[in-house]
């Protein structure tokens, strides 16, 4: 069992609090990703769990044991660093064997385990080389091997792919996913790349300014963002945001739905999914792929019309930008039917895809 529980964890540098009252329970064998912009405290949190940073307040337990005052080596964790952190003067073999030697594992067993790990990660040809003679991807594989060979209770990854180029990053991401599939070790993975988070995580912990913004599966966070920040941070291309004022619909019997007044036009919705108050300021969000293209000039409700001013070609599809009520809106369309810049465009926002957030608190108005 190697569940990780953080309860009320604080981190302060002098009088500056960077993390306050962080609570999280990571289940055994779970792959958790800490996601957030730089400086949100995700790496600090990881280093506190590893034992490289002191814990200013609260408790961290790993496998039911409080580790606050344990040395890093006593916590049963292994870590992969962003810049690999290999021992530059040692061969790859010695780099991987270092931990086992310190643990006084018999030499024959070390040799056997290195053979297995090197085979898994395809490192056999490089064992006698020094780290400097390897490419970035190979070095990171050595770092993973060095962490793996100790068969730790917990894997910690601190932005392991940030130093690699895009192609290699994709490749290594798949390797890490496979590795977790076969090893099933509890893993915490820190990244600022939402693609890595979405593809690897069982659950994502979205962080901002030292606090949790939302915890959930990738689908939950993408589909039901709890805050404006979560909605804006997750998803490429970014969600469109339109400031609206909420008003009661004019249908009779109080069941006439709701009207959202914006600078570019009005939206009428039933609003059953949302807790709405007349007169309140809100932000309407809709993802670019959720905008449905309709004939320009067509009549109907919830239309966003404008003139395409920028068309970004992405391959299968294209991102069309246009001004709607003074706000830049992006809509994703099939590349084959994409309009030219200067042409009139019109998109429909279906209620099912609309997100609503309170303007002031940034919290979602959805009730489900």
């Amino acid at each position: 069992m190697s569940a990780i529980i953080c309860s009320g964890v604080d981190k302060a540098y002098g009088s500056v609090k960077v993390i306050e009252d962080f609570n999280l329970a990571v289940a055994d064998r779970e792959f958790i990703v800490f996601l957030g912009p730089s400086g949100c405290g995700k790496s600090t949190l990881l280093r506190m769990i590893a034992g490289l940073e002191e814990i200013s307040g609260g408790d961290v337990t790993i496998g039911g044991i409080r580790v606050n005052d344990l040395e890093p080596r006593e916590r049963g964790v292994a870590m992969v660093f962003q810049n690999y952190a290999l021992y530059p003067h040692m061969t790859i073999h010695d780099n991987i064997a270092f931990g086992l030697k310190r643990m006084k594992v018999p030499a024959a067993e070390i040799a056997e385990r290195i053979r297995t790990v090197a085979a898994t990660l395809g490192l056999e040809p490089y064992l006698e080389r020094k780290p400097a003679a390897l490419s970035g991807g190979q070095q990171q594989r050595v770092a993973i091997a060095r962490a793996m060979i100790k068969t730790p209770e917990v894997f910690l990854f601190d932005e392991p792919l940030s130093n690699l180029d895009a192609k290699l990053r994709n490749h290594m991401r798949v390797e890490i996913a496979r590795l977790h599939q076969s090893l099933k070790t509890t893993t915490i993975y820190v990244t600022h790349d939402q693609l890595e988070a979405m593809t690897l995580a069982d659950r994502i912990v979205l962080m901002r300014a030292g606090a949790i913004e939302q915890v959930g599966t990738p689908a939950e966070i993408y589909g039901k963002p709890r805050t404006l920040f979560a909605a804006g941070f997750i998803g490429t291309p970014n969600m469109n945001f339109i400031d609206v004022t909420i008003a009661k619909g004019d249908g009779a019997g109080g069941n006439g739905g709701w009207v959202l007044e914006s600078a570019g036009g009005r939206f009428t919705i039933e609003g059953a999914r949302f807790a709405l108050k007349p007169g309140a300021k809100a932000v309407l969000g809709i993802r670019p792929p959720d905008l449905r293209a309709v004939e320009p000039g067509s009549a109907g409700a919830n239309l966003l019309a404008g003139t395409a001013d920028l068309v970004e070609f992405h391959g299968n599809d294209a991102l069309v930008s246009f001004l709607f009520g003074g706000i830049e809106i992006g809509a994703q369309v099939k590349a084959t039917v994409c309009p030219r810049p200067g042409e009139a465009v019109c998109f429909a926002a279906d209620e099912a895809h609309i997100h609503l957030f309170d303007k002031q608190s940034g919290l979602t108005l959805a009730t489900d």
Binding site: R73, A85, Y87, R102, R146
Partner: protein, 287 residues
């Protein structure tokens, strides 16, 4: 293109000329008179071939001086580096930024002191009757402790002063070197079940191998020139137990017999030996 190739020569030649006068002339002259039988009491001399060199090898005092010089080198270079590493690592491990600056300033002071002054200060500190270091021994046992006059301790005591000057200075350099290293390999090692001393022994010090070798070379050259320290503290005594090669050459050339050619022979041998030894060690450690 032509002026490009001559310009460096124009700038270099004055400096090289001065160097040639200052370094080359005495060196060549020393080699020259080492083949003569010049003495300070006579204005002239005649060529005697290799007589001086042959005589040196049957001179037991010369052989002793070689031994003392070698011991001195090993003792001062080894201990200086050991002390530097120990203090440097302790500072890196336990001192905050403010303490580091304060300690560094403190540890730099001894090496700024001219060595003759340092030698006098320490000679007095080791004085059997008035010295502050020997005082506790005297207070407890009632006997004076004369470290500098005891053949068994004299060389070690002088070496202590040398290490006090250079070991502390190098400790500051070691601290600064450690500060330049990336912290991640240390952190990785701590997660790799390494204890604190193992982090330094297996990761930090090997990562600093190249600069540490350079430091060792600096100290080796420096230790060869410890004449002033020994001259002030023991004058080679008691007997000849602290008489290094340069001390012996000096006493042969100027103090005892004025045999300037004989002393030059020694100097030339020293020059050849150190050139060869240093070249070999340099090549070995770089390989």
């Amino acid at each position: 293109m032509k002026h490009k190739s001559t310009l460096p020569a124009v700038f270099l030649s004055p400096a090289l000329l001065i160097l040639a006068v200052l370094a080359l002339v005495p060196t060549v002259f020393a080699v020259f008179i080492s083949f003569q039988d010049r003495e300070l009491s006579r204005p002239d001399g005649r060529f005697v071939g290799l007589d001086n060199y042959l005589a040196l090898f049957s001179d037991r005092r010369f052989v002793n001086a070689i031994g003392v010089s070698l011991t001195w080198e090993v003792l001062t270079v080894g201990l200086t580096l050991l002390v530097a590493l120990l203090i440097g690592i302790l500072m890196f491990e336990y001192a905050g930024p403010r303490w580091r600056s304060a300690l560094s300033l403190m540890f730099l002071t001894p090496v700024i002191l001219p060595r003759v002054s340092a030698a006098f200060v320490w000679k007095f500190a080791f004085h059997p009757l008035y010295g502050i270091i020997t005082w506790p021994y005297k207070a407890i046992t009632g006997q004076p402790l004369d470290l500098l006059s005891d053949p068994a301790t004299a060389l070690g005591t002088v070496a202590l002063v040398d290490i006090w000057q250079w070991g502390l200075f190098f400790a500051v350099i070691v601290l600064k070197l450690l500060e330049t290293l990336p912290p991640q390999p240390f952190e990785a090692a701590r997660l790799d079940h390494a204890r604190t001393w193992q982090v330094y022994a297996y990761v930090a010090i090997p990562m600093l191998k190249a600069p540490l070798i350079s430091l060792a070379f600096v100290k080796m050259v420096e230790s060869l020139r410890a004449f002033d320290l020994i001259y002030v503290m023991t004058r080679g005594g008691p007997g000849i137990t602290t008489e290094t090669l340069d001390m012996y050459a000096f006493s042969q050339g100027f103090i005892e017999s004025g045999r300037i050619s004989y002393a030059s022979g020694m100097a030339v041998l020293m020059m050849i030996a150190t050139s060869i030894v240093f070249t070999v060690i340099w090549k070995r450690t770089r390989a």
